[in-house]
Each structure stands twice: as structure tokens, then as C-alpha cells.
């Protein structure tokens, strides 16, 4: 899932670019040509992409944690198998994206170190806890739903490997959202307690889901360059509005109430108008002070440390096999 335009600032150029090359580059972008790894590109374009793609990759893999919390307690084997498959997809999304970032000349190890060291950002949404099974429904429905809104335009982003990764990802996200909505539907058709559980989850996830689109346009002054480079194609507020318009009727179908007293339908524009988002909360969570930030990073560090011997053993085995094959070859000569 999940780019968030966490830090809208396009990287500032550190080098003086050749104006002729810059113009030719912009002309290719304007002609909707895709930029490929070996093509010339401005250094700031490269760094902006590395940051955005790696944040996106980190979000995919950190996003496996809140859902993993419910794997052993899924209410049926069918739900458990589906959730397992979804989480595995998210791991795959992380891998596609790390691979896309690597084509820009940075290693996955390096990016991952940045995440584990707490120097890289990832989507704020994964710093909220999953308290009940209904949270798994809400994540699929709202979080993956918001991710789809964000990601569909990224399938046309100007950098080829990123666009191709996004196409694969978008194909898989649709299952995630439907899976989540179906969980909500089942709860809402269940006992009053189950329906209350669904409402409680919506109450907690609604606002964080809206924050997934990043700061309001009025505060993200740097989107312009990203739009000019066609890394980004819609502004945060445009995407957020699309998400609200798509999601409100789905909540109504479930018989749930969106936890926003100011929410109203605007006849003139056909849009659902929503109330004020608590951007202070957003800033706190991004800055590392959300409910689960520490827990998430600790879980990732622990997994990385505990997997170290496996990676080392695999490399040692491969080296031994190579040496053995080499020795046989020499003996045969």
C-alpha cells in the first residue's frame, strides 16, 4: 500500500544540472515517456524517488505487523487463510518496491538499515493498534481502500520501474479491500455486539485513514515539482476527497455511522464534505509518538536480528557450493 506524501519536500538539487539535459528530461516527461534506470535524470529527481519509493516499501512491511497481530486469533480457517494471503501480498509489495528503489542506485540493505535505525518514515496509519477482529475488517476496507486511491495514479508515474511495481500492487489490493469489507459486512449482519464492534473500529480508523493522504494542499507547498515531474498526479486533498466520496456510501450500506458530525452531502458539487482533521495528531504520530511507533520498530528490529543467522547460513552455504564446484572443475581439467 501506502505512500503518504509524508515529506512533500522535493529533494533540493545538490548539484548544478546542465540546463540542456534538464530541458530534454522535462520534454520527455511532458511527452509521457517513462524514465528508465539507465536514462539520464536530475539528481533531485533520483533522490526524491528513492525517498518516496523506500517510504512506500517500508510502509508495506511495517503494515504487516498490525494485521499479523490477529493471525492466530482469526475467527475461522477461511478468514485466517485469507488474512495470511493478504499479509504475504504486503510483504511482496515491499519487495517489488525495494527492488524498484534499488534501480536508482541504492541497496535494499541500506534502505532497511534506515528504517530500523528510525531514520526513515513510513505511513502513520500503522502506528495504531488492532484491538479487535473488526480492526482487521477496517484495515482492509479503509486502509487498503485509501491505498488504492493513492496508488492507482502511481501506475502512471513517470519512473518506469515504480510504475510497473504499482501496476502489480494495484491488481492485488482489490482483494485486500473486498476481504476487509466482507469482514465488516459479516459483523454488521451479526449480533448487536458484533455490529457495535464494527462501529467502534470505524470510529477509531476513520480519521487516521483520512490522514493517510498526507497534509492538506495548503501546507504541502512542494507538490508542484513532483507534479511537474509526474511523480505525483493528484494532490493530497483531491485524493482524500475521492476516498471520502467512495467510502461514505459503503459505510451507509453497512448501517454504520461515520464519526464526523460535520459530514454532509453537498448537492451542488456531488461531494461529501468532511469536518476538520486533527493535523496535530498526525504530526505527533509521524514524529514517532503514535500509540505503537516504538513497538513497530522493535518488532522489525527483532525480526531482522533473529533472521540474521539464516541469511548468513544461506550465504555461507552458497559460497561453499561455489567453492566445491570450482574445485571439481579444476580437478577435471
Amino acid at each position: 500500500m501506502y505512500t503518504q506524501a509524508l515529506n512533500e519536500a522535493v529533494e533540493r538539487p545538490r548539484v548544478v544540472e546542465d540546463p540542456e539535459k534538464l530541458a530534454a528530461f522535462q520534454a520527455r516527461i511532458d511527452a509521457e515517456e517513462k524514465i528508465e534506470p539507465n536514462d539520464w535524470m536530475p539528481e533531485a529527481y533520483r533522490r526524491t524517488l528513492i525517498r518516496q519509493i523506500s517510504q512506500h516499501a517500508h510502509s508495506e512491511v511495517v503494515g504487516m505487523l498490525p494485521e499479523g497481530n490477529w493471525l492466530t486469533r482469526a475467527p475461522s480457517l477461511k478468514r485466517k487463510a485469507a488474512l495470511l494471503a493478504k499479509i504475504q501480498d504486503e510483504g511482496g509489495h515491499g519487495l517489488y518496491l525495494y527492488a524498484a528503489a534499488e534501480t536508482l542506485g541504492v541497496s535494499r540493505e541500506e534502505l532497511y538499515e534506515q528504517l530500523l535505525a528510525g531514520k526513515a518514515k513510513y505511513s502513520s496509519i500503522f502506528n495504531y493498534p488492532t484491538l479487535t477482529w473488526a480492526d482487521i475488517g477496517c484495515i482492509g476496507w479503509l486502509v487498503d481502500g485509501a491505498a488504492i486511491m493513492n496508488q492507482i495514479p502511481l501506475c502512471r508515474t513517470s519512473y518506469g520501474p515504480y510504475a510497473r511495481a504499482m501496476i502489480r500492487i494495484c491488481k492485488e489490493e482489490s482483494f485486500h479491500q473486498r476481504q476487509g469489507y466482507e469482514i465488516m459486512l459479516t459483523l454488521c449482519r451479526g449480533t448487536p455486539e458484533q455490529k457495535a464492534m464494527a462501529q467502534d473500529a470505524l470510529n477509531r480508523w476513520w480519521w487516521p485513514a483520512l490522514m493517510m493522504f498526507g497534509p492538506p494542499d495548503s501546507e504541502s507547498v512542494h507538490t508542484e515539482q513532483s507534479m511537474r515531474w509526474k511523480i505525483k498526479r493528484f494532490t493530497n486533498d483531491e485524493l482524500r476527497q475521492k476516498f471520502v466520496d467512495a467510502t461514505v456510501p459503503q459505510a451507509h450500506y453497512l448501517g454504520l455511522t461515520i464519526p464526523d458530525p460535520e459530514l454532509r452531502y453537498d448537492e451542488a458539487t456531488g461531494h461529501w464534505r468532511y469536518g476538520k482533521i486533527d493535523w496535530e495528531e498526525f504530526k505527533r504520530v509521524i514524529a514517532g509518538f503514535g500509540p505503537c511507533n516504538r513497538e513497530r520498530l522493535e518488532a522489525k528490529r527483532k525480526a531482522h536480528e533473529e533472521g540474521r543467522w539464516v541469511r548468513e547460513a544461506a550465504l555461507a552455504y552458497a559460497a561453499k557450493q561455489r567453492a566445491r564446484a570450482m574445485a571439481q572443475k579444476i580437478a577435471a581439467e
Binding site: 528508465e36 539507465n38 536514462d39 539520464w40 494471503a85 504475504q88 501480498d89 511482496g92 519487495l95 517489488y96 527492488a99 534499488e102 541497496s107 535494499r108 540493505e109 541500506e110 538499515e113 510497473r164 511495481a165 502489480r168 492485488e172 540474521r308 541469511r311 548468513e312 544461506a314 550465504l315 552455504y317 552458497a318 557450493q321
Partner: protein
Amino acid sequence: MAEQSMPLWEVFIRARTGLAHRHVGSVHAADAEMALQAARDTYTRRGEAVSIWVVPSAAIVASDPAEKASLFEPTASKIYRHPSFYEIPEEVGHM
């Protein structure tokens, strides 16, 4: 501490018999066997493939995009390589 990096492999899959293998992405793995397994888990979770190739990324030799013009442009002037270059009277029928 940065650890030793896992080698990179390019992944090609054949979607159906009769089709060519197509590049789909890359994986990191210690050896060829693990690369094949990682490629299967990463790129074929929904029946996308009947066959997988993995190739060490370092073994791929690529043309230089900067030489695109000199490499491919000459073919553009050779229009006689295309069937539409030859005029056949309509009476002859489809050819």
C-alpha cells in the same frame, strides 16, 4: 553494521505455454535455488506462471540509452523492410 548483501537476480516468467518468458522484476537470494523459490513466492502467487527463469543481474549486458539514436535509428530509414513499401495492384487480391 551493514551485512554482506544478498546477490540480485532478475526474474523472467512464462505466463502460458507458447509465450516467451518476460521480465517481471528481481529478487535477492544467496543462490540460484533460493532465487527460484523467492521468485515463485514473490511473482507467482496467483497462477501467473508455468515457468520461471532467474538470471544473476550482473550477467545481463544492456545497451546504453545514450546510444539509442545511433543503435536503432538506422532501421527507421529502411522502409523497404516493410510490406507496405511494395505496391501490388488491387486485382491481385490480398497478399
